[in-house]
């Protein structure tokens, strides 16, 4: 079935030079394995085609139920060189959450998450 990343994760993004980082956090502990399995660097790279010009790296933080992505060459030069309205990649977290994932598992979406 198809699920929206927005429904199982939240995210925050920021800049590191011309790279951006996007932290993606599972809304519930049981969603984390889904992220690990389906939210691969390759899929993220394909999702950001045309917006992120460089490679995508992924790091796992199982203790926080989170993945951290580094999107290289994502900010049009970064810092004050970038002409982008979002020169610091602040909205790339929400761009990530646009993703839809085709998953084999049964639907697990619940209304409430662990705020």
């Amino acid at each position: 079935m198809k699920i929206r990343l927005l429904d199982i994760a939240h995210a925050r993004s920021g800049d590191k030079g011309d790279a951006a980082n996007v932290g993606v956090i599972a809304r519930r502990p049981e969603y984390y394995p889904v992220l690990v399995k389906y939210l691969t660097a390759e899929r993220v790279s394909a999702h950001f085609a045309g917006l992120v010009m460089g490679r995508v790296e992924r790091f796992e933080l199982p203790n926080l139920g989170a993945l951290n992505f580094i999107l290289h060459n994502a900010l049009g030069g970064g810092g004050t060189r970038s002409l982008k309205n979002d020169a610091q990649g602040k909205t790339l977290g929400s761009a990530m959450l646009r993703m839809e994932l085709e998953i084999e598992e049964q639907p697990i979406i619940r209304g409430e998450d662990n705020v």
Binding site: R12, G23, R27, G50, N68, G79, L83, A95, V115
Partner: protein, 453 residues
């Protein structure tokens, strides 16, 4: 030794909520107020200000803020640690001493940390084999050497700890890591030594949580922003630190915002790279060892943090002049707002070409449609209005300035139903590019001065 200290975040960046530091010291008990003012670009701006006036070059907001808070800080013995000294911590200190004098406060101890500014030493360092080449691209510093505007070593907590040990109520630094501002009081109060890596890492993680102010206590919260109460009166985060390295993140009772496991998680992931190697001058913190647990309303316990030995190098942050940029906007209204934007963009680009102006980059964005998510944003069926935003960047100041004169004419010589040119012609601004490098720690020594007046 105190069993617990409360460290309050007062500013997440230069330009942050001006009422936050006051609220942190008046709305509940705290022992320390820590304030981060320095982004990468900030140092070059401050260097420019100091060149024009040798008594400037620091975060000027600090002086009226300290003048406002000093009586309370002195009365309650709340200590302030800030990197707002910029490229001129001594001038910042003197301005605060003057403010204290106006208030009739005497016996005030202020510490400054100097030595991070290596702008005048670049040639000498390179002559001694320290290349300061770009640590990300490998480029030789020689390619930009004549355009370097600022060069600062990131010091860690150690020199701040020395100033605190020597009795400073206020510690003003130049380029210090954001995390060091929060770690330092823990080292000072609990006697943590170098090589107690787990504890240093725990204090560093607390510093990372505090360094962006309200972003840890409900600001910019993606999981459920509707659920954050009363952001108008957001309480900035406070770290309650214990000698064993465990920390509770909280905020003052009665303030707005939210401290939850989720708000803290979002801040932990902000602007990090490989989570196993969070490198500071003080230690390497392993973010995959952090344990978070709810500890009552607006309280999150942070524990389990593991650290490793610090590296042999300091990070150096340099900035250099890299040409000029300008951007202008116009707003187009329904019908066919997006189509009109596209047509105006084509007209403008044609005119720039006819003028023979050359730029390194011209970027067009349509605010309301694609300036944030670019090609990931689906084209809207019909929009009420779109803001056309065009920016240029290049080495030639005159060309960038000329571009600024081509926006307004579109109002009378382009597509209809256009407005939004109240701001005047866009002016060229300097492009300040960032040059990160590494320097052996042995090449530079922090200099700590504590004076009482």
């Amino acid at each position: 030794m105190k069993e617990r200290i409360r460290i309050a975040s007062g500013q997440g960046f230069w330009g942050d909520l001006l009422t936050a530091p006051r609220d942190q010291v008046t709305r509940g008990e705290v022992d320390y107020l820590v304030m981060d003012y320095l982004a990468e670009v900030t140092m070059s701006i401050l260097q420019k200000q100091r060149r024009k006036n040798p008594s400037l070059g620091y975060a000027r907001d600090l002086v009226p803020l300290m003048e406002h808070l000093l009586p309370l800080l002195v009365k309650k013995n709340i200590r302030v640690i800030t990197n707002g000294g910029g490229v001129n911590p001594l001038a910042c200190r003197d301005a605060i001493f003057e403010a204290a004098g106006r208030l009739g406060i005497s016996g005030l101890s202020i510490g400054v940390v100097l030595g991070d500014d290596i702008l005048g030493r670049l040639g000498d360092l390179r002559a001694h084999g320290m290349t300061l080449n770009n640590m990300e691209t490998g480029e030789d510093l020689a390619s930009v050497m004549d355009r370097v505007m600022s060069a600062n070593v990131y010091f860690g907590a150690a020199p701040i700890v020395e100033a605190l040990n020597r009795g400073a109520l206020i510690v003003i630094t130049g380029r210090t890591t954001d995390t060091g501002l929060t770690l330092a009081p823990m080292m000072h109060e609990f006697g943590w030594r170098e090589k107690e890596w787990d504890r240093l890492a725990a204090g560093t993680v607390a510093g990372h949580i505090l360094e962006c102010g309200g972003q840890a206590s409900g600001g910019n919260f993606s999981a459920d922003w509707h659920a954050v109460p009363d952001l108008a009166h957001i309480g900035f985060p406070i770290a309650e630190a214990s000698p064993d390295g465990s920390v509770v993140i909280t905020k003052h009772r009665g303030t707005g915002g939210l401290v939850s496991v989720q708000t803290v998680k979002e801040q932990l992931l902000y602007e990090i790279g490989n989570p196993v190697d969070y490198i500071t001058p003080d230690c390497i913190a392993d973010f995959t060892t952090i344990r978070l647990s709810a500890d009552g309303p607006d309280r999150v316990r942070v524990s389990g943090v593991k650290g490793r030995s610090a590296t042999e190098t300091y990070k150096v942050s340099m900035s250099y002049l890299d040409g000029y940029a300008a951007a202008g906007t116009l707003t187009y209204a329904w019908p066919e707002a997006l189509e009109k934007c596209r047509a105006a963009d084509t007209i403008l680009r044609t005119r720039l070409q006819d003028l023979g102006l050359r730029f390194d980059e011209i970027r067009t964005e349509f605010l309301g449609y694609n300036s944030c998510h670019g090609p990931l944003a689906p084209a809207p069926a019909e929009v009420n209005e779109v803001v056309l935003r065009i920016g240029v960047r290049g080495k030639d100041y005159a060309a960038v300035e000329r571009f600024g004169k081509e926006i307004a004419p579109l109002i009378l010589t382009g597509p209809p139903s256009v407005t939004g040119f109240a701001g005047g012609r866009p002016k060229p601004s300097q492009v300040i590019a960032y040059w990160p490098a590494l320097l052996p720690k042995s090449a530079v020594q922090p200099d700590v001065i504590v004076e009482t007046h």
